[in-house]
């Protein structure tokens, strides 16, 4: 199975890593994707469920979650590509760039929702 794989920026360098590492990288990517879908669902639910919250704060919380949900699949893809390249080149793996921003986004959304509840 030596057909050219996409993207060549990843598969054109280095040599094949242990299959287990490739599979683990794939699972990590999929976990980020599911996280993104959960963030999007949360953001949509805040607006779509007709909750009796302060409107502007509720919209702000919703947008914070949705923007996080938009950024996550993008970084998930690039993170997967960088990790795969690092595995092939036997270099240290990149750190999880999404972890801190998502944590901040979720906390921010939570604070906004709390305020929206209090000031409803």
């Amino acid at each position: 199975m030596t057909a050219r794989r996409f993207p060549s920026s990843v598969y054109g360098v280095g040599r094949e890593p242990d299959a287990r590492f490739t599979l683990a990288n794939e699972r990590t990517f999929l976990a980020w994707i599911r996280t993104a879908l959960a963030l999007l669902a949360g953001g949509v639910a805040l607006e779509a469920l007709g909750l009796g919250l302060q409107p502007q704060l509720r919209l702000a919380a919703s947008l914070v979650l949705i923007v996080a949900g938009l950024a996550t699949p993008v970084q998930a893809w690039f993170g997967w590509a960088q990790a795969e390249r690092a595995l092939r080149l036997d270099r240290p793996l990149p750190s999880a760039r999404l972890a801190l921003p998502i944590g901040v986004a979720v906390v921010a959304a939570g604070v906004l929702v709390l305020l929206a509840v209090v000031l409803a």
């Binding site: 794989r5 996409f6 242990d18 007709g50 009796g52 919209l59 947008l63 699949p73």
Partner: protein
């Protein structure tokens, strides 16, 4: 190449674990076994998991979970998209496309796993080229599209929808 020739796959505790093998493959393997007497171990290897940690199987399950999340997201869109696209068929079409795409991911993931399993069990080393980034890229693009739809829905709801 640096790989250890002659290194056997580690004996794993899953000996005899019945992996769902397609009946056609089982017949074919049984036929091969009959023809080439000493090929019993080779045929057996495809019937068992490659790795005691079940990594390919866990990856296949992760793909299924993701396809499920995409399906649920598409169905959620069915409820939410009419505020953006109106009550007409447009909303149903988009949500329907999402469901079709999620099913396509499921099918693609299944084929991916079967190929990974076949490649790994038929090789005598671990550095086997597996699937590429096409399916991951498609999934990331799909999720991004869902995000755009979510943004549109939230903004439409906030500006035009029921007050408060």
């Amino acid at each position: 190449m640096g790989t250890a020739r002659g290194r056997r796959l580690p004996a794993h505790p899953a000996r005899g674990l019945p992996l769902p093998v397609h009946p056609a493959c089982r017949r074919r393997d049984a036929g091969r076994r009959a023809v080439s007497g000493g090929g019993a171990e080779q045929a057996d290897r495809t019937a068992r998991p490659f790795d005691a940690g079940l990594q390919p199987e866990r990856t296949a399950l992760a793909w299924r979970r993701t396809a499920l999340a995409l399906t649920v997201g598409s169905l959620l869109g069915l409820r939410v998209l009419p505020t953006v696209l109106g009550d007409g068929p447009a909303a149903y079409a988009v949500a329907g496309l999402g469901v079709v795409a999620a099913v396509a991911v499921l099918v693609g993931a299944h084929r991916r796993y079967r190929r990974v399993h076949r490649l790994l069990t038929s090789s005598d080393h671990d550095r086997v080229p597996l699937g590429g980034g096409l399916l991951p890229a498609a999934v990331a693009a799909l999720t991004l599209a869902a995000g755009v739809a979510a943004l549109a829905a939230a903004l439409a709801r906030a500006s035009g929808g029921a007050a408060g």
